[in-house]
């Protein structure tokens, strides 16, 4: 997964899971979506969609993938 950005080596790289990405991108703290001419229809539906998506991602990560969800070592990988 593409990290959000890098500090050109100043900070250690962190791998992000699909779950974390979905959490950032499909959240309720959204700017503008409700106002878009066309958008996912309404905030409540987005939220519902989010829950579905998160469940799907969790299942994805629990099954065949290596699932780099936090095993909880240190603060950042490599820190």
């Amino acid at each position: 997964m593409q990290p959000p950005s890098s500090l050109a080596g100043q900070l250690p790289e962190v791998e992000f899971t699909l779950l974390e990405l979905a959490d950032r991108l499909l959240n309720r703290g959204v700017v503008l979506v409700g106002e878009a001419t066309i958008s996912v229809a309404g905030v409540d539906l987005i939220y519902l969609g989010l829950n579905l998506v998160l469940t799907a991602v969790e299942n994805l990560e629990r099954s065949p993938h290596p699932g780099p969800l936090p095993e909880g070592v240190g603060t950042r990988e490599g820190a």
Partner: protein, 274 residues
Amino acid sequence: MEGRAIGELLYVYAVVPASARLAPEPTGIGAAPVRLIQEGLIAAAVSPVPAAEFDDEPLNRLMRDMDWLAPRATAHQTVNAALFERVDALLPLSFGAVYRGAGGVRRMLRERRAELLGRLDAVRGRSEWVATLQRDAERAGPAAEADDEELARLNAEIGTAQPGRAYLLRRRLEEARRAALTRLDRAATEALAQGLADVVERTHPEPIVQTTPDAPLARSSLLVHRAREGALVERGADFARRWEARGYALRLTGPWPPYRFGGEPLERGDATAI
């Protein structure tokens, strides 16, 4: 730009100051080039997307398909990550903001000009991080028990009690263990909040989605001045060193573009709660 087909669907990734420059231009969803639509002091980063997937009805249906969503969500983040490194202020949009034609985007930028400028100011020079606190019950349980007086007393009593009384004491012991673990959880959460308080500008508690036993204890979005990112990581490492033996671990991800704080009500913010 205006000469493009009327009704062309434009996917909006982010709002940036009009002074932003995209060179080289990032590649967006479906490998389409991302361009800026400027309106006064602000601009939207957009790329064309196919109506067959991004019109209202198909988008709502396809959003539930992980195989469809994952590469497009990744492209959304890739564009925002690239923009984030090039501009001092960025409002990343949530996934799925689609406008019909450049005119619709311009109208939105015009109508919400004051609000968007205020939001850009609120996140200028800052990044977003996500702190997740987790606890390993196998290690935290004994740690909670180690310095608990009531548990020590109960254990000693059980050692010498008659079988009937020992049974009752063991039940009380279970309860006391749970309470001690809850106290240790609270102590860890407070220690983390205190450790981060003076490097973090704003905190937003996030819902815990998992319901499994290994669900995190707490999860928060943090807004941090970019100059303090190193300090944040150090504070996180300090916490980890002090709490690791007791079974507590912190995962810190970032720097994210301010997905959460870009959309927050402008006055809110609490620098202490995790």
